[in-house]
């Protein structure tokens, strides 16, 4: 019987505390009944017979899992909400990190663009670890103590409210919305940098463009605000409609126009900017800035062409 005791103890080790004694007691009674029935057929049982019966019952961990099946960390009812919350919160944390890193970059005389990217990446990774852990922990507690009920939205939905069948690109991905929002926020912070910096930070800072180019960028900043509003509208709808496409075309076309105007408003580069001047002369830097701006303009231009094509497909 020593084998049976060891087997029961092994099963009990795999069980939750609350069920350990009760299941152990019941399993012992069941095994003893089986051994009695076997002894009636075969006479006195050897250790090998007992071992054989226990082997047939299965590994202690398997038996324990049959009595107390393992529970997933997040219940299936919450999984969709969990994933949605996770992506939304990580998107917002990314935006906050963009704001934080850009302010630090502008206010520091030491930080290069590469250090800015490093600061953005490392800060975001820290935020992801914190956000992922907190959200998972919250949903684990909800799964454990409050089983999912159907929400009001799930109970009162109407088939007629479902969007029309359309091509796969009509669904707007969350990462597209958040990368647009991050870009607009970055632009606004860079353009209006004197507002966020202290006098000391302002003294250390330098701006890449001339006052003339900076003024033009300031005039274009309502466009970035419109872009933010458009992204928030996309976040609400998550589905490309004709109106959303037209708004996107207008905003991106305006950005192309502003960037081209900027390239035409020579000189672009601030002559007081000392960095790189040991490597390149001002004329070379000016030409590099114009080429970079033309290449940058290709991105919103591509979106304009893409959205016109989509608009034609929708109609």
């Amino acid at each position: 019987m020593e084998l049976v005791k060891r087997y029961i103890a092994a099963v009990q080790r795999e069980l939750p505390d609350a069920k350990r004694d009760e299941i152990g007691r019941e399993l012992t009674a069941n095994i003893m009944d089986q051994l009695d029935a076997l002894a009636e057929q075969q006479g006195e049982l050897s250790e090998a017979d007992i071992a054989n019966l226990l082997q047939q019952m299965g590994h202690p961990r398997t038996v324990a899992q049959q009595f107390a099946p393992p529970q997933p960390l997040i219940s299936a009812g919450y999984m969709s909400l969990y994933k949605n919350t996770l992506f939304m919160v990580l998107g917002v944390l990314f935006l906050l990190q963009v704001v934080d890193s850009t302010s630090a970059w502008l206010g520091s005389s030491q930080m290069s663009f590469l250090l800015f990217i490093k600061s953005l990446a490392s800060g975001f990774i820290q935020d992801v670890v914190f956000g992922f852990t907190s959200i998972t922990l919250a949903f684990w507690l909800m799964s454990r103590y409050q089983p999912r009920q159907h929400s009001q939205c799930e109970q009162s939905w109407q088939p007629a409210q479902l969007p029309k069948v359309g091509p796969h690109w009509q669904h707007i991905a969350l990462q597209d919305i958040f990368s647009d929002l991050a870009t607009y926020l970055f632009l606004l912070i860079v353009i209006w940098y004197p507002l966020w910096l202290s006098a000391e930070q302002l003294a250390n800072s330098r701006f890449l463009f001339t006052d003339n180019a900076h003024q033009l960028l300031k005039w274009a900043s309502p466009l970035a605000l419109l872009g933010i509003a458009n992204s928030l509208w996309q976040l609400r709808k998550r589905f490309w409609s004709r109106n959303l496409l037209m708004a996107n075309i207008l905003i991106n076309a305006s950005f192309v126009l502003v960037i081209l105007l900027l390239t035409a408003s020579s000189p672009l580069i601030n002559p007081e900017l000392k960095i790189w001047q040991g490597v390149f002369d001002l004329h070379q830097l000016e030409r590099a800035a114009v080429y970079s701006l033309v290449i940058t303009a290709l991105v919103p231009l591509w979106e304009v062409v893409r959205d016109i094509w989509r608009l034609r497909r929708l109609s």
């Binding site: 299941i23 007691r25 019941e26 399993l27 009674a29 069941n30 003893m32 009944d33 089986q34 029935a37 019952m57 299965g58 398997t62 038996v63 049959q66 009595f67």
Partner: protein, 115 residues
């Protein structure tokens, strides 16, 4: 169809039926091993790893009453259908009979088509 697929589908098919069989068998009190014998004698072979946790789950749902009794020099936990379990068994039996009758005619006509 592979044997793994067949085993999986057979398991799914048997899962609900086993609950019905266990509830029906527990109109009389039984302990784990005697219940398994009764089911086996009735033509339903079920391994311990499935039966014992199933019985505990039904008891936790208040469909079965249970008590420990001493007998033959050892304690055993006896299970019997509770009032709630009896009501559920009646409803499930009716459901099963309707399903069985509908399936009977469906499977009958499917068999005739195959022949």
């Amino acid at each position: 169809m592979t044997s793994a697929q067949l085993d999986k589908m057979r398991l799914e098919l048997r899962r609900g039926v086993l609950v019905l069989a266990v509830l029906a068998s527990l109109k009389q009190p039984h302990y784990g091993y005697s219940l398994r014998k009764q089911l086996q004698d009735g033509g339903i072979d079920i391994d311990e790893g499935t039966l014992y946790p199933l019985v505990r789950r039904l008891a936790e749902q208040a469909l079965l009453n249970s008590e420990w009794r001493q007998g033959e020099g050892r304690e055993r936990r006896y299970y019997q259908l509770s009032e709630l379990g009896a009501q559920l068994l009646d409803q499930l039996t009716e459901e099963w009979q309707q399903l069985n009758s509908a399936l009977g005619s469906l499977l009958g006509s499917a068999l005739q088509e195959i022949k």
